[in-house]
């Protein structure tokens, strides 16, 4: 003969409830314990401390560029020629793989500032090369135009524009 608790009559055993409650709590506890082990791999506080890079534009002549570093990544600062600007502006934006007018990518048209990391798998594209006379990524053949927009190849997006501002006419601060 077994004795039954009143709860059993409507199909829910007290034991079932205890199983679910204990199991649920255990799962939450385990997840909470695992989280620090996963999170420790994310960028640490010193890496996160948003660094800024200042660039003096004075010495960069028309038609040349420099590569600086921001957050460990190369940043291209290019002093574009009139021809390059015209080429970048004369494009039918709607036909681009990642449609974006040149005007949205610059603060002043003669200065193109962008992160020099191919949006495919992260190589550094080479300047003044490729079918659009902008940048060419040698790794898997992505072609970017004079605005750094992707035109051909496996990369899905345009070269990214970092946050930056003009401190005065010849100095910018990235970050």
């Amino acid at each position: 003969m077994t004795t039954t608790t009143p709860g059993e009559e409507d199909g829910v055993k007290r034991r079932d409830f205890l199983y679910v409650a204990a199991g649920g709590l255990g799962a939450v506890g385990t997840a909470a314990a695992i989280w620090p082990f996963i999170s420790q791999m994310n960028p640490s506080a010193d890496v996160l401390a948003l660094s800024t890079t200042e660039v003096d534009l004075e010495g960069i002549e028309v038609g040349s560029e420099i590569t600086t570093v921001w957050q460990g990544k190369p940043v291209f600062v290019r002093h574009r020629t009139g021809e390059e600007i015209k080429k970048a502006e004369d494009v039918v934006v709607a036909e681009l793989p990642d449609p974006e007018p040149d005007a949205d990518r610059v603060i002043k048209p003669e200065w193109l500032v962008m992160i020099g990391v191919c949006t495919h798998l992260g190589c550094v594209p080479v300047k003044e090369q490729g079918e659009y006379d902008g940048w060419f990524c040698p790794c898997h053949g992505s072609h970017y135009d004079t605005s750094g927009r992707i035109r051909k190849g496996p990369a899905p997006l345009n070269l990214a524009i970092p946050p930056y501002e003009f401190l005065d006419d010849s100095n910018i601060k990235i970050g």
Binding site: M41, P43, G116, P138
Partner: protein
């Protein structure tokens, strides 16, 4: 014959931990098919290479410094200053290549003789898990010397995860511990590179456990029926494997002492420069077929998916192959298609090393001059210039090969299994061995 220790000390241990009995069982009682060929040596060779990697690796770790400012120089220090450091490092670097050579042959052996079929599906799966772990280990090891190829290989491969929609970018920065491959990345790769080989050891133990549960497959693909078909592992296969090992060590030494950098890349002797990508980056040779598949697809996510898919389909092999006969020896059609598949894999390896935007074949001649897609005319005559009349681009060749790779596994394998008429199987392994022995042949010729 079961294990009954005579020595009291051994018996004392055995009663508490029956480890000697286990080894005894594996060596003397475990029945091995009597007809195993040298294709069955690669398993034990892989085990030996794993031990070589662990021993040389632990030695290297005694002299290596996992920091971006010092890693490259510490490897040079190993090469120039540490006693026999050059030997340790060359053994380790070439050992990785040897590991893949041996394991690839081991896998193709399995494909040819149908070793993945029931009841060995789990055995096959565990093998594939080892393969994946090896790839992760070798990839992270290659990053440690912190040369140009280390850095850019790490960048490109970790960026594969950025193809994942929505969370991709967060995953990549989680892998890096920053906004690019940097010191945190190098540190964790060193930690994991030290760990994973021991995980591999664990999976190898499971792999062998699964093997011993149903026994080795063999060139006929039929199971052992009675004592006539089998021999004890020791001394027969210990000796055969030792001979195989001797030949293998000669092969290994030839690279080690005469061409230690043949399978490496010269750019990795240039210290990592995060601002300049080498013009022609290629992964280590053992990743090339998968790299070729990645590059064959013009879409980022598509390329990444297909590359991982190329390995994932191998897990489904036991169910894709519909033939009830295991060994290709008795499968006239599969046997031929198998070799085509091997050639395609070799060709993919070759394509993985070619430049992304080049042409495989190119015919030159006179072609019309075009400007912005408009053919140029002068006085009613089409202007001509020297140019490429016909080209077979590297990308197209890789695409065809990739298509065949999947066609073989997903279409040909199931279809052939259904329609092929296998040759009659021998009644037993013993019968097959006798039918092929020269004594028998001489007798029947007389």
């Amino acid at each position: 014959m079961s294990f009954e220790p005579k020595n009291t000390a051994v018996k004392w241990v055995e009663d508490r931990l029956p480890i000697m009995g286990m080894l005894h069982h594996a060596l003397y009682e475990y029945p091995t098919p009597k007809n195993l060929s040298y294709w069955w040596t690669f398993g034990s060779l892989a085990g030996v290479v794993l031990v070589i990697q662990i021993v040389t690796g632990i030695v290297l770790a005694m002299h290596y410094t996992p920091h971006v400012d010092m890693a490259f120089n510490s490897v040079e220090h190993i090469m120039r200053d540490v006693n026999y450091g050059w030997l340790m490092r060359y053994m380790h670097a070439n050992g990785a290549s040897m590991f893949f050579i041996v394991v690839y042959l081991h896998m193709f052996r399995g494909l040819y003789y149908g070793s993945y079929k029931a009841p060995r599906e789990l055995l096959w799966w565990l093998g594939l898990v080892i393969f994946l772990l090896m790839m992760a280990t070798a990839f992270m090891g290659y990053v440690l010397p912190w040369g140009q190829m280390s850095f850019w290989g790490a960048t490109v491969i970790t960026n594969l995860f950025s193809a994942i929609p929505v969370v991709g970018e967060s995953i990549v920065s989680w892998l890096w511990g920053g906004f690019s491959v940097d010191n945190p990345t190098l540190n964790r790769f060193f930690s994991l590179h030290y760990l994973l080989p021991f995980v591999i050891v664990g999976v190898v133990i499971l792999h062998i456990w699964a093997l011993h549960t149903n026994g080795s497959n063999n060139p006929t693909g039929i199971e052992i029926k009675d004592g006539q078909d089998s021999i004890p592992f020791h001394p027969y296969y210990t000796v055969k494997d030792l001979f195989g090992l001797a030949i293998f060590l000669i092969f290994f030494s030839a690279f080690l002492f005469y061409a230690p950098n043949y399978m490496g890349h010269p750019d990795n002797y240039i210290p990592a420069d995060p601002l300049v990508t080498p013009v022609h980056i290629v992964p280590e040779w053992y990743f090339l077929p998968f790299y070729a598949i990645l590059r064959a697809v013009p879409d980022k996510l598509g390329g990444v998916l297909l590359m991982f898919g190329a390995i994932a389909v191998l897990f489904a092999l036991p169910w894709l192959d519909k033939s009830r006969v295991r060994s290709a020896r008795f499968r006239p059609i599969y046997k031929q298609v198998f070799w085509v598949f091997v050639l395609v894999c070799v060709a993919l390896t070759y394509m993985g090393a070619q430049s992304a935007d080049g042409n495989m074949v190119e015919f030159r001649g006179m072609v019309p001059v075009e400007i912005n897609g408009v053919v140029q005319m002068k006085d009613g005559v089409v202007l001509m210039e020297e140019g490429i009349t016909f080209a077979l681009s590297n990308v197209l060749v890789s695409q065809l090969l990739t298509a065949y790779y999947f066609l073989h596994l997903l279409v040909l394998l199931p279809m052939i299994g259904l329609f092929e008429r296998p040759r009659p199987l021998p009644a037993s392994i013993a019968e097959d061995v006798l039918a092929k022995s020269p004594a028998k042949e001489e007798a029947s010729n007389a």
